[in-house]
């Protein structure tokens, strides 16, 4: 803050800095800003110089536009009703009220694991996903993938026809061909038959697979999940003798040590864990006795960003640290080498803290760490008396394939020529198999390949048969959550492209009499859901009661620690880390525009996956953001741009999977770089011996970290628990103008309600579920990489990321910024046509019809939360139009838009309240961002009602408003972030 204000000449800002903040951190958003380099100043002061490019015209188009100049000048650009023929229902569906949305409980699966959701259906069209409050993995919230699932459903690039090679085929053709294979395989006991799936937890599917293996005793089932939990289960097998699923109880833990575990964004339980974690961090709930989080990680994660102490450490050195820790905690283990000074201090602090919180501490190991370290984690948790308290175990939630069920085994069999029929069900190994397996070559040796997938992707085009898969929202199925709770997935819409589900294909393979997926699921649950009432109850609530797997009390064996464990020498070579991309995962979400354009947490980049390198490495190789490098690993090469990542371990280079797709669809094709090209099956998370060479080329990345820059004002306020105890009002005690300074203009008369929002920065983990939920709810367009580079992204709620501290180990903070809904709004006074006005309930509303697009409102907005349709961003046509929320106007080119506090939801609540002749209840209106937030950081409601949860939040001593000295009187306020550092480590940089 101070560094920027001093250079920008805005000296008065120091006067507003609260003392607590002024003393400590100077927040920065990027390394350029930290260095305050000339390049950054140049960038800042000239923003984006770009023009032309569109002027590539042939003669015909030239004449067209010449004519258009006259024609368009006269057009008033008003839209007519669609010209399609419409037909009313003859018999209306039961419960359907035309024009009103209905919500159905169902299950969305990510990496095999269930998260319960409620899907909004607008006249039969699924348009929006909300969390299911009754589901253990959701508790009403969602992650970004659940939000984006509805866009995937309507993706026009989805596979739409069954293909036999390059020919379009019918369903009957496929059924006949499969039946032929079945008959052949039946004779041989399935000797050449293989099935490949991703991770699965579905009880129905598991039962089908059991029958499959029974029916075809020679056949095999393989699992391929590019970023799966193999290490986790193998670790549990070491410690307990058989694989176990692990469940964390972060709300009960006082001290949490994460060894590269990014549990807040965990695919299976991240949403739930984030809620539990935030609960243990709320100073109001815990009376200041907040939990403390230590993170050791090689590449920054959101969990590391939330840590009270974070230690960047190469992934391969984390295991060594864990040995040292285990030794200090009294576990018998060999340790080669001794800790360095910093590690020694950490060990002292950790051991003291863990010992003092026996039974209330927790050690979590990330899935990227080797199995024995997971085993050691179980041993340590047991030694600290945490088992059954902060962590417990159950039988595996996933169906595990057993020995010989990996992709490696499959490829070996394919090479040996022993596979003649391969069913690839909902996975894409031609793209995401490790490069050393040469899966595509092996696939050529298989006579009959059937691929079932949402897209005719890299694998689909190679298969003899490609069958479009029914989307999760189109078919029946079931799945288990991280704790084993089963839930049923019911379809919201008939399959758009007559797709088949995995259950249907397996039923065909099994020659099952029952082929209908609903009947298959119903049959699976016939014992628990005996009658229609029970079945309907399970569908309505979205969970099947009492199906959580029971806690298993197993003795921990430490004997495996005596066996030889890889104790890699602490060499000086670089290590390469493979991680699923934060927004497009392992590549299965590549064709999703919302996820592509969602700025990735921490890097704030969109549409790309540069290699992350540490500031140390950047200095050593003279690299800056966007420089191309050549990565060499075991004879394989990848050209990729770099991104200098604050907090990255010095010798670690991270590449994210999921990019460089060749057949993802129009959105995902050709974006980014294919990191699978470097991945080996033996080192699928981390690989040593990386060589790096600067090529001298440059690459344009589309980052948003400087967009809407507010130039170093004190937007973010952070304190420690001690500061909070000493002065609960630390966030505002430095304000020169506390409260609302006098104004020349009269206040607006109070309305029936006074809507306001409070955002708890202490709870916000920066996952950006709010951004994408807002995008889904409010018909916000995707603008593309080129437009993002020009600073034109349209997200109504952005999540700013700040750092403080040194670049090699900074503290990270996230701050969601929606419209502040100022009571004295600077935007309102400058609009010449009155298109942005104040309503009676204090909302600052934008009237799209009236907007002529002067952009003056945005110029005058000190928070830079307004978004402008510079070009025509919303394409009509395609199936994507069906996703749009009919309650929200689709904006045309040339109008300004911004956060509305989900005014359509407020209006719905108004109507409901009016019908019942009552006031709107507290928490009756949930904004889209609030509903999606895993940590409930966002609260919304009537601030005039002192009992409302938002008014209570605003009465917290931590409450402050952004740029309060401008006297804009924002309705959106923040609660300051608190950190809980260990006094023994406070003079550390973290």
């Amino acid at each position: 803050m101070s560094s920027l204000s001093s250079t920008s000449g805005f000296t008065s800002v120091a006067a507003y800095v609260p003392s607590a903040v002024a003393r400590g951190p100077a927040f920065w958003r990027s390394l350029e800003e930290l260095a305050d380099s000339e390049a950054f100043q140049g960038w800042l002061h000239q923003q984006h110089p770009q023009f032309a490019q569109e002027l590539m015209l042939d003669r015909r188009r030239f004449m067209k536009f010449l004519g258009a100049s006259l024609a368009l000048a006269g057009l008033t650009a008003c839209s007519r009703p669609p010209q399609d023929e419409i037909v009313p229902y003859v018999h209306s569906p039961v419960g359907q009220v035309d024009g009103l949305p209905r919500f159905f409980a169902t299950t969305l699966v990510r990496d095999g694991y269930a998260r319960g959701v409620l899907v909004e259906s607008q006249m039969g069209r699924p348009t929006k996903v909300e969390g299911n409050p009754q589901h253990a993995a959701s508790l009403g919230a969602t992650d970004i993938f659940a939000q984006a699932a509805v866009l995937q459903l309507w993706d026009p690039d989805r596979s739409q026809t069954i293909m036999n090679g390059v020919d379009v085929a019918s369903r009957d053709d496929f059924a006949a061909a499969l039946q032929q294979q079945v008959e052949r395989q039946r004779r041989t006991g399935g000797a050449g038959l293989r099935v490949l799936t991703g991770t699965l937890t579905s009880p129905t599917l598991s039962a089908q697979l059991d029958v499959f293996l029974e029916k075809y005793p020679q056949a095999r089932w393989h699992v391929h999940q590019p970023a799966g939990n193999a290490n986790v289960y193998e670790g549990a097998r070491l410690a307990f003798g058989n694989p176990q699923s692990t469940r964390l109880h972060l709300d009960r833990a006082k001290v949490i040590v994460s060894l590269e575990a990014d549990f807040l964004t965990d695919a299976a339980a991240g949403v739930r864990y984030a809620r539990d974690y935030a609960a243990a961090r709320s100073p109001e709930n815990t009376l200041g006795a907040m939990s403390r989080l230590y993170v050791l990680e090689s590449t920054p994660s959101l969990t590391g960003g939330m840590a009270d102490h974070c230690l960047p450490l190469e992934s391969e050195r984390i295991a060594h640290f864990a040995r040292l820790l285990a030794q200090r905690l009294g576990v018998t283990i060999d340790v080669a080498g001794s800790p360095d000074a910093q590690q020694a201090r950490w060990l002292d602090a950790l051991v003291a803290d863990l010992q003092a919180n026996r039974g209330a501490s927790l050690i979590v190991i990330g899935p990227s760490q080797p199995p024995w370290l997971h085993g050691l984690g179980h041993v340590l948790n047991s030694a600290l008396d945490n088992n059954g308290k902060t962590i417990d175990y159950s039988a595996p939630v996933e169906k595990l394939p057993g020995a010989g069920g990996t992709l490696i085994d499959l490829v070996a069999a394919m090479r040996a020529g022993s596979v003649d029929t391969l069913l690839i069900l909902d996975c894409n190994p031609a793209y995401d198999a490790p490069a050393d397996l040469h899966f595509v070559d092996a696939l050529r040796r298989v006579a009959h390949v059937v691929h079932l997938g949402l897209y005719r992707d890299e694998t689909g085009v190679l298969a003899e048969w490609h069958v479009p898969m029914a989307h999760q929202l189109e078919t029946w199925s079931d799945a288990r959550a991280y704790d084993g709770t089963a839930s049923i997935a019911q379809p919201l819409i008939a399959p758009l492209y007559a797709g088949l589900s995995v259950l249907e294909v397996l039923a065909m393979l099994l020659e099952d009499d029952v082929r209908d997926p609903r009947a298959l699921v119903r049959r699976q649950w016939r014992e628990l859901l005996t009658d229609d009432a029970a079945w309907n109850g399970a569908l309505q609530s979205g969970v099947i009661e009492n199906t959580a797997l029971p806690q298993a009390a197993l003795p921990v064996r430490a004997d495996f620690l005596a066996q030889a464990m890889p104790n890699r020498p602490d060499d000086a070579s670089l290590e390469l880390l493979f991680r699923p991309d934060p927004t497009v995962g392992d590549g299965s979400w590549s064709n999703n525009g919302w996820l592509q354009e969602l700025p990735k947490p921490l890097t704030q980049l969109t549409w790309d996956n540069p290699a992350l390198i540490s500031p140390h490495l950047a200095a050593q190789y003279e690299l800056s953001n966007g420089d191309m490098v050549e990565l060499h690993l075991n004879g394989r090469t990848l050209h990729v741009p770099v991104w200098v990542m604050p907090g990255q371990a010095a010798r670690s280079v991270t590449v994210h999977l999921g990019y460089g797709r060749r057949r993802a669809g129009r959105v995902g094709d050709g974006q980014g770089f294919d990191a699978y090209a470097l991945r080996a099956s033996s080192a699928d998370w981390n690989a040593g011996g990386l060589q790096l060479r600067k090529t001298g080329d440059r690459y344009e990345l589309a980052g948003t970290q400087h967009h809407f820059n507010v130039e170093g004002r004190d937007l973010l306020r952070v304190g420690t628990v001690d500061e909070y105890r000493r002065n609960p009002h630390f966030a505002t005690s430095g304000d020169r103008y506390p409260g609302a300074p006098p104004s020349l203009y009269p206040d607006y008369p109070p309305g029936e309600y006074a809507w306001g929002m409070s955002i708890d920065l202490n709870a916000c983990i920066g996952c950006k579920a709010c951004t994408i939920a807002c995008q889904a709810e409010n018909n916000i367009p995707v603008v593309g990489k080129d437009q993002v580079q020009r600073g034109r992204e349209m997200h109504w709620i952005r999540v700013d990321r700040y750092y403080d501290g040194a670049a090699d180990n900074p503290r990270a903070y996230s701050q969601p910024v929606p419209c502040m809904m100022c009571e004295h709004a600077p935007c309102e006074v400058v609009c010449p046509v009155g298109a942005t006005v104040h309503d009676a309930e204090g909302l600052n509303v934008q009237v799209y019809n009236r907007c002529v697009g002067t952009r003056f409102c945005s110029n005058n907005c000190p928070y830079k939360v307004r978004r402008f349709n510079f070009l025509k961003y919303t394409e009509d046509g395609d199936t994507l139009a069906a996703q749009r929320n009919p309650e929200v106007t689709v904006r045309r080119r040339g109008v300004m838009e911004k956060c509305t506090y989900c005014i359509q939801r407020i209006e719905t609540a108004h109507i409901e309240a009016d019908k019942e002749n009552r006031r709107i209840r507290d928490a009756e209106v949930l904004t889209a961002c609030q509903a999606a937030c895993p940590t409930q950081a966002i609260r919304f409601g009537d601030i005039a009602d002192v009992h409302s949860s938002v008014a209570q939040a605003k009465s917290s001593p931590r409450a402050y408003v952004m740029l309060g000295e401008l006297n804009t009187r924002p309705r959106t306020s923040y609660l300051a972030r608190l950190r809980n550092p260990n006094p023994a480590l406070t003079d550390e940089s973290t």
Binding site: Q47, H824, V833
Partner: protein, 297 residues
């Protein structure tokens, strides 16, 4: 050309061998009996080509949207406002020259004034295009005008953009008046000398029945001089647009009046340099004309 009517111009301004009649003849011949040589046609063609480029550019803009200007969210006005300010500055240069020459009672000013005033009118007209084209939806620019609307919507008078709209309109009106009123006696001369009835009627329409009576000259002189006093008024009106930038982050906190300028370096640059630069350019365009016309031959 009003010089030919004698009273305003002193005989000393006539070159040797010239009389009022010969001067009138020579000058009106430029309009009435001009032969368009190849150089004129070439010049016209190139000007027309540039004008067509503008038409094409505007068409492309209307088809694609203001996004083609490379603007983005913090820098929302760059191209449009630079052009607007530049052309207004050119116009101010013209107004300044003609007003200053009049107030200094320079009798030889007429031809230069005509030139400067024409420049002002066209420069203001050009500058007025940009605030319209910069709109996201330019076809609705008339919503800034307080016309009786069935929806009862009305412009928002607290916005300085609204006043900017009227400032441009007022400046354009005044410039046109200024230019046109000075032309009336000359239009009458052309009417009287027109070789065809059609042209005579054309010039006659715009001459507003000017007959060169002493009474008309007296009114002409007083009106003309009053028009010149509009100069300070127009200058004041044009300060509306600086207000666009100086209007702070909020209207209530004057100390933050510098906020937008800090947020938009391009705009700050505009304000610091474009206005005076453009005004100087306006003067500079006019001054060679002055020199050429007054150079002793």
């Amino acid at each position: 050309m009003s010089a030919v009517f004698g009273d305003a111009a002193s005989p000393s301004l006539l070159a040797r061998g010239q009389t009022h009649a010969t001067v009138t003849e020579a000058i009106s011949a430029i309009t009435l009996h001009r032969h368009f040589g190849w150089y004129w046609l070439a010049g016209f063609a190139s000007a027309l080509a540039l004008c067509l480029l503008l038409v094409f550019g505007v068409g492309w803009l209307l088809h694609q949207g203001v996004g083609i200007w490379g603007i983005n969210m913090p820098v929302a006005w760059a191209f449009a406002i630079c052009n607007y300010v530049w052309w207004i500055g050119i116009g101010m240069g013209g107004t300044f020259i003609s007003g200053a020459l009049y107030l200094a009672r320079k009798d030889w000013r007429n031809s230069i004034n005509r030139y400067a005033e024409a420049m002002t009118v066209f420069a203001v007209a050009v500058s007025g295009i940009f605030p319209i084209l910069h709109l996201g939806r330019p076809w609705f620019f008339y919503w800034l005008f307080p016309y009786p609307d069935v929806m009862n919507v009305w412009p928002q008078w607290r916005s300085s953009l609204e006043w900017d709209f009227f400032a441009i309109l007022a400046y354009l009106t005044v410039s046109i008046l200024y230019w046109y009123v000075g032309m009336i006696p000359d239009l009458a001369t052309l009417r009287d000398r027109a070789p065809t009835l059609g042209l005579a009627r054309f010039y006659g329409f715009f001459a507003l029945g000017w007959r060169g009576e002493a009474r008309q000259w007296r009114r002409f002189e007083t009106r003309d001089s009053r028009c010149r006093w509009f100069f300070p008024c127009t200058a004041w009106l044009l300060w509306i647009s600086p207000r666009l930038w100086c209007r702070g982050g909020t209207r209530r906190s004057f100390r933050h009046s510098s906020l937008p300028a800090r947020c938009f370096p391009v705009l700050r640059w505009c304000w610091c340099s474009a206005y005076p630069c453009a005004a100087c350019s306006g003067c500079r365009i006019t001054s060679p004309m002055c020199i050429w016309l007054t150079w002793p031959k």
